[in-house]
Amino acid sequence: MREQHAADIAATVREHDVHLGGLIQVNPLAVVVIDAHDLVQMCNPAFEKMFGYREADIIGQPIDPLIVPAENRHEAEALSRLGFAGQTADSVTRRRRKDGSIIDVELTVVPLSHEGTSIGAYGIFRDLTEQKHAERHLRAQYAVVEALAHSATIEEAAPWVLRAVAESVDWQLGAMWIVDRTADKLRCLDLWCAADVSAAQFEQETRNGRFARGVGPGRTWDTEKPAWIVDVTKEGRFSRREAAAAAGLHSAFSFPMILSGDVIGVVEFFTSAVLEPDDSILRMFAALGRQLGAFVGRSRTQEQVEGFFTMSQDLLCVAGFDGYFKRVNGSWTRVLGYTPEELLAEPHVNLVHLEDREATIAQLTSLRAGGLMNSFENRYRCKDGSYKWLLWTAIAKPDEEIIYAVARDNTDRKLIEQQTQDTLRMRNDFVSFVTHQLRTPLSGIKWMLELAAEGTDADEKTSYIQDAHESADRLIGLVNDLLDASRLESGKLRVVLEAVNLRTLTGDVLDDVTTLVREKGHTVTVESAADLPDVTSDPQLLRQVVMNLLSNAIKYTPPGGRIAIRMGLDGRNLRWSIHDSGIGIPKASAARLFEKFFRADNVHTVDTEGTGLGLYLVRLIVERFGGTVTCESEEGRGTTFAFTLPRAGALT
C-alpha cells in the first residue's frame, strides 16, 4: 500500500516535471521529494551532488537520518510538519553530507499536494557553503585584524588570533608555534581552547612540546604549506595522539606563518569532528599565515627600533611643533634627572640655558622649515640645577609637525676642552711669567757689565760688577727653585732620608744669615726643648724650608724687628715655628699664600724681586715628608709660620 502510494507520488511529480520542461531534473538547486512519512521519494541530480547520495540508494529511506545533523533534528521535523500542513517554510540551516561533512544550506520546504490532499513535501536546498565560507573568512579576517591592531607583539596577539580563528570556523582548539632559531625547533607560543573541551593533557603536551622541522607541527614548517589531518587519533605519526583522543579531538589543520618566504611559525587547529579536508578553509588560512608572518615581521622591526630607542646612551626624543616633547628615552632621565612625565609637561626650551635659548629657538625655526639640525650645542638644566652640554642632530617632518632629535651628553668633552684650554693658558702664563722672571736678572747682568766695560773709575766698575754678580745669583736661585718645584711636583726629586736634628739645622742656617740679620738690626731668638727628637727627612730640602721661612721673616720685617723661632713636640709630631714683627699678610692673600707664583698683595712695598716660589717650595717639601705648613698673620703686626713633621721612626 505504502509502496504503491510512494510510486504514485514520484510518478505524479515526474509527470508535473515533464510539463514544466524538466525543471526539477535540471535545476541547479538540490530538490528532494518526501512523502508524508518523511521517506525519500525522489531527488534530482543536484541533490545527489550536494549530499553525495545516489537516488537509487535512498529511495524509501527516512530523510532525516540521512542528512540532518543530530542537533538540527527538531528543527527539521518542525519544517516537515509545516510542509505537510500545506505551508511553505524557509530556513537557513545546516545539513550533513554522506561523508559526514556539514554544509550550510538554505532550505525551502514546499507542500506537495495531489487533488487537494497533502501527500508530502519538496525540500529545496541551496548550498550556502561558499557564502558561509566567505562570511566566516570575513569574520575571521576582521577578528584577526582587530587582534593584531591591539597588539604590539605576536605574543600579545596570539590568544586573540587563535580564538578568533577557531570560533570563526567553529573548531575547538588552536595553538600557535614559533620557530626558535637558536634551538632550531618549534616552540608553543600560546594555546586557546573552547570552554566546553577538557584538554588538560593535550594542552600540557602542546605547551611543553618542542618540535623539530618535519615532526608534528614541524611538518608544516618543513612543507611550508597548509596541511589537514582527518583524524589525528588515527594518525600514527601524530605524537599527541593519545592526549588528542582523551580530549575528543579528531580533525586538524595547520598552516605556516610566512615572512619574506621563510616559515617563522605554525598555527594549528583541532576539532572534535572528523572532517574531510576543506580546501576553502585551507586557502583562507594560507592567506592568514602570510598576514600573521607580516605582522611578526613588522613587530620585530618595531621591537628592534624600540630596542635601540631604549638602549641608546644618547638622548632620543620626538617633539611636536608645539614645543613639547612627545616621547623621550631613558637616557634623558639618566643624564638630566627628570622623569619622562616631567620632561613632557613643559615646553622643552624652558630647560635650555638662558644664554643658549635664542640660538636654540633659531635652530628650531629653521628645523621646522625643513632644515637639518647638525652639531648644534646647547646647555640643558638638570633637575639638580646643574647644566649639561648637549650636542644635537635633528630632523623635522613638517607634514606631521614632528621633530626627531638625538642629543649627546657632551659635558665631559666640553669639560676636557675647557681643562685643556685652562692647562694651555696656565702653561702660557707660566712660560710668560718665567720668561719675564729670567729676563730681568739677565738684563741686569747685561747692563751692569756694559756699564762696567765702559766705565773709567775703578770703584765704579767694581760696583757695577758686584751688581752683575748679584743679578746672576738671583738668576741661579730662580732656576734652582723652578727645578726643585718641578721635580717635587712630578715626584721625581731624589731625596736622601736620614735622621735630622732640627735644632742643629736651624743653628746652621742662622749662621749663614748672620750678616743679613745684623744689617737690618733684627733680634733673633731660638727656643727649643733640650731633648728634641730627630725628624726623618732630607737635610738639604729641610734646610731650604728653614732658610726660606727665615729669610722671608728677615726681609718682610722692618729694621730692628724681633724674630722668634720655637721648636717643640706636638703629639707625635715635631713643630717648628717662626714669628716675626713684620708687615704681616693681608687676609685676602692668606688663603693663596702657598700657591705657585703667588705673592701677597703687600710684598711689593718691600721688593718686587721675589719669584713666588719660596713658600710654594716650603709647602711641597713639608708635605713630601708627611707634614703640614700653616700661617697666622695680622697685617702690620707680624706673622707666624709653622710646620710640623713626624718625629723620626713615625714615618715608615
Partner: protein, 125 residues
C-alpha cells in the same frame, strides 16, 4: 734744552743701569720705583718722555698709562713701555692705551736703549 726723562722701574739693578747711562748721555733723568710714585712724579712735573715698566709694585704700568692718558695734564706725555714681558695681550693693551712703543729690556743693550731715546726725543724737537 735738556730733555727730561721719567724712568719708572722697580728692579734696582735695571733702574741704576738705565739711569746711569741716560744721565751720561746728557738727559735730565728722574726715577720712580713703583707705579704710584711714577704717576705722582709725572703729574708733578710732566717729562718729555716716560720709560714705564709694566710689572711694578703698588700700581702696574698699564694702570699708570691709563691714568696718565685720562688726565689732561699728563695726557700728552709720550710713554714707552719697557718690559721683560712679551705677552701679545700686554703689547696690544699698551698700544691701545697710547704707548708710543714697547721695548723688551733684555733684548736691548744700554747703548741701544739710549740711541732709541735720543731718536725719539730728537724727532720731537
Amino acid at each position: 734744552m735738556t730733555k727730561s726723562i721719567l724712568l719708572a722701574e722697580d728692579d734696582k739693578f735695571l733702574r741704576r743701569a738705565a739711569e746711569t747711562k741716560l744721565k751720561q748721555a746728557g738727559f735730565d733723568v728722574r726715577v720712580a720705583v713703583d707705579g704710584d710714585e711714577a704717576l705722582a712724579q709725572a703729574r708733578e712735573q710732566p717729562p718729555d718722555l716716560m720709560l714705564l715698566d709694566l710689572l711694578m709694585p703698588k700700581r702696574d704700568g698699564l694702570s699708570v698709562l691709563k691714568a696718565l692718558k685720562a688726565d689732561t695734564v699728563t695726557a700728552a706725555i709720550r710713554v714707552v713701555i719697557i718690559s721683560n714681558s712679551s705677552k701679545d695681550l700686554e703689547m696690544q693693551n699698551a698700544s691701545d692705551l697710547g704707548a708710543v712703543d714697547y721695548w723688551i729690556k733684555s733684548n736691548l743693550s744700554l747703548q741701544e736703549l739710549c740711541d732709541r731715546v735720543q731718536r725719539l726725543l730728537g724727532e720731537a724737537s
